[in-house]
Each structure stands twice: as C-alpha cells, then as structure tokens.
Symmetry: C2
Subunit: 258 residues, 2 copies
DNA sequence: CCAGTCATACTGGTTCAACCAATTGCGCCG
DNA sequence: CGGCGCAATTGGTTGAACCAGTATGACTGG
C-alpha cells in the first residue's frame, strides 16, 4: 500500500471542500464566510476542527481572517499563485477557464525548462549526467511500449533529474509548481499525455548537448520539442472542451495518442 | 494607521517562529518536531492554538504530519516554491545562501517580465495603456526626487499594471511570488533599491512600444534594462555579504544610490 | 433634531480537559 | 527464538467556556 491520498482528515476534507467552492466560484471573492460556529455545525464538526480548515485556507491565501470581522474570500485570480493550478484541476470548475490558464502557462513552462536546461548545461557534474543517462534509456524503452502513463511518470523523473543537475534552489522552487501541475494532469487525464514521435530524439539531443556543454544546442532542442508538443496539447485541450462549452463541472476522460 | 503586520496572533507567531527555525536550519530536514503537547507548553500555550500553527506549517509544505507518527520537517530546498523567498528574507538566515538564490532568480524574473510584456503588448486595451501612462508619469517625476523607496513602490504599481494589461490569470499567478519578493526586499532594505539612470527611458520605451503594438521593441527594452540593473544588483549584494561572510543572522542595513 | 457615546451582540482568538485513533515498540507468552 | 498483543506515544476530534476586537444601534446630552 502506498496509494492513499484520501486524507481521512476531517479538517483537511473541509479545507478541500471550501477551497473547491472558492475555486469554482460558488463562493465569490469579497463574500463573507458564515461564522465559525455556523460552519462547524454545517459540516457536522466542532469549532476547533473547523478552525484548522480555515487556517489552511488562510495560509493558501484563499481567505483573509480578521478578528471581530469574520472571514472574507480573497480574489484568487488576482492574488493567487501557480500552486492553485492543481487544486483548480481537482476542483473541476469551468474547463474553459482552466484551458485559458493552461494556454498561457505552456509557454511559461517552456521558458522555465529552457532556464533549467541552461543551468544544467553549465553546472551538471558527471553524476548528474550519469543519472540522466540512466533515466533516459529507461524512458526511451518505455516510450516504445506506447504506455502514456508510464512515459509520463518516467518523464517526470527525468525532469527532476534535469532540474537537480542545475544545482540551483531557485530553479527548483520555480519549477516545482509546474512539476506538480504536470503530475496532477497526468494523474487526472492519463490518456491525455502526448506521445510525440520526436520525444526520444529530444531526450538524446539534450543529453548529448549536456555532455558536450553545448548550451545553445540544448536550448534549441528544448525549444523545438516543446513548441511542437504544446501546440498539439492545446489542440487536444480544445477538442476536449468543445462538447462541454457551457462549463459542465465533471471532467470528461479524453483519448489520444499521436 | 495602516502599517501593522505584527500579527498579534499567538498561533501565527508560533507559525512564523517555527518557520524561521526551519528556514535558517535550526530545525533540519528529516528531524521530528516535539509532540504537540510538549510544543504547546514550550510556547506557553494550549494544544489547539499550537495545532493551528502546525496546520499552517503543513499547508506551507514545511512539515509533514502523520497520525501516530508525529511531525517531520520537510526538505524545503527540494520541495519548496518561490513563496518561501520572502519568509527566507524575513528569517534572516545565511545571507550567502539567500544571495545564491537571488542570483539565479534574477534572470528568471527577467524571463517572467519579458513574458508579461509580450502578453501586455498583445492584449492591452486602451484603458490598460491609459493606466500605465498615468503611473509612468508619476513614476518619472518621483524618480527625479531620487527617493528610492518611493520609486520602488511606484514601480511595483507599474509592474502590476503591466501584468494586468496581459489579461492573463496565468502570468498573474506566475508573477505574484516575484512581486511579493520584490516588495519584501524593498521594505527590508529600502536603501538597496537601484536607481539606474536608464530607468525613465525603459518606462517610456516600453510604454511607447506597447502603444504601437511592437512586441520586439518592448522585449528589447526590457531585456536591456534588466540585464543592466540585475548586474548592478548582484554586485551590490556581494558587497553587502562580504563583511558578513560567516553567515551572521542579523540583516545589515546596506546603503547605495547609483 | 443631531451628534456623540456606550451597551450589546456579533465576529474570531484562546484555553481547558477529556477522549478517539493510528503507529510504534517493548515485553510477554507460546 | 518468534510471533502476538498490550501499552505508550503521537496526532485527531470534541465540547464548552471565556477572552478580545468590531460594528451596530439605541440612548443620552447638547
């Protein structure tokens, strides 16, 4: 057993539920939450447990709490961060909204990965390269099985290794929200993952450029690959939301393997 | 009165204190926190209040809590995000460490701002441009007074307006941690802010390129300005830490105005 | 009639004292 | 010696009472 994120925690469940309501707009920015005593009875628990949930909302910047005044819902679109992307997917709100966000995030992700690649080329030591080499081989083997989910997980490890090779806390911190979102999308829409034919080539090219210390070649490979994949990904996303344009909450399971 | 972030909150104080201890390494990753009952008496409070602090630490991903097992400190350098930058500055840990992180973050910030500029050029409407124009004029006036803190605050507003002009939740979310760190550095080291002579020119050039819809010109202005400023900034940072190489905790007030 | 003020009824903040539940490990028993 | 189970430890939940800011509105004095 190692798969059980269901959080049997009452406080955590309430936190997630309130977060969901905020993210899908059932609780609008500026509105006030009911009092803690009311909320506690609403969710069939006591005030202490309920308050733990509110503390988490506060820490996530989804609400602001002021003594004597109550709990106010924040405008997460203005004040939020990338860390909301995963909860947003989990909340399953307006797919149209999520797609718009993703469309703008993809080029940003490309920039981040280019930066990570740059740092890796400059700072990777032999053990970093060895590690990446090992993962690359496994990954290319997995790629030939056409198992999208497996390749996705392996690629996640590959990206982690690439980022680690940069030996930079900064790029780690910047990348983490992207990686998390990646993993989340992968887990939620396993069939969605794009298996682009140039994938093995991208891996090999990056690795070889890394070994040669050729920054520009690594960047070029990265840019070329992600621009192609992201284009496909967006097309795919748009075909997904087309039938559900009105913004139906339940996420439909898509299907694709180029 | 509008300046009072001192959080008279007990739970919040404990949260900040524990966060500080984690960020400066007094509590190392992998270590276990004392039990909640012990911690509560240590900080002279009760278990419920203490637990609220722990919930915040958990939400900030600084610790992981497991029923029956206790609270374990996470490796924030691996699993953290940009949102830790401000608390890190507040914690005042090893300056050397912070400088290394900042050195890698600056080029990333440039990328983010370029991206924000791109989106602004593509999507800004006339009201966005009007707003930016107004702020720009005020800002250039302020610049002539050589008041670093004032210019800093105004520039923060300018950046917000630029980002808003992109009409993108994604770039908002990506930028927010950078903006927050910017504001924090500004507040903590007011004299540090670099008044680069080409600043007004950067503002005007960006604005004019924005009005003309000339993406490449806007990007060029951005790139040229930030590369120059960031170079100065890093030099400045290094002169600051030189006298305190051993990693003395208290942040020294620097002094500079090019 | 208006303006200031104070009582009061909200709101969240803190405390206490139990008890429930998961995990660990020691020690007993086979 | 090995496996089982109890007991200690840790976090999770509960309920009730009281403290502390904030806003509201009724009351009072001008």
């Amino acid at each position: 057993m190692e798969e059980q994120n269901q959080s049997s925690n009452i406080a955590d469940s309430i936190f997630r539920e309130l977060r969901r309501q905020i993210l899908v707009g059932e609780l609008a920015a500026g509105e006030r939450l009911p009092g803690e005593r009311d909320l506690a009875t609403t969710y069939g628990t006591n005030r202490n447990t309920l308050r733990e949930a509110v503390r988490k909302l506060e820490q996530a910047r989804l609400v602001t709490v002021r003594h004597g005044q109550g709990v106010t819902i924040s405008d997460y679109k203005k004040t939020g961060t990338m860390e909301l992307l995963s909860p947003m997917l989990e909340a399953g709100g307006s797919l149209l909204e999520v797609v718009h966000i993703l469309e703008d995030i993809l080029p940003a992700r490309e920039q981040v990965l280019e930066f990570a690649t740059r740092l890796a080329v400059r700072r990777a030591d032999s053990s970093d390269i060895d590690r990446l080499t090992g993962i690359t081989e496994l990954l290319i083997t997995a790629f030939e099985t056409k198992d999208g989910a497996l390749v996705g997980k392996g690629f996640h490890r590959w990206l982690e290794a690439l980022i680690d090779a940069g030996h930079s806390t900064a790029i780690r911190w910047i990348s983490n929200p992207f990686l998390e979102a990646y993993r989340d999308i992968l887990g939620r829409y396993p069939a969605l993952w794009v298996l682009e034919s140039s994938f093995p080539n991208y891996l090999r090219e990056t690795l070889s450029a890394l070994a040669d210390g050729d920054e520009e070649r690594a960047i070029a490979a990265s840019r070329e690959y992600y621009q192609r994949v992201d284009r496909e990904f967006v097309v795919l996303l748009k075909t997904i939301i087309k039938p559900t344009l009105t913004g139906t909450p339940p996420p439909p399971p898509p299907d694709e393997e180029p």
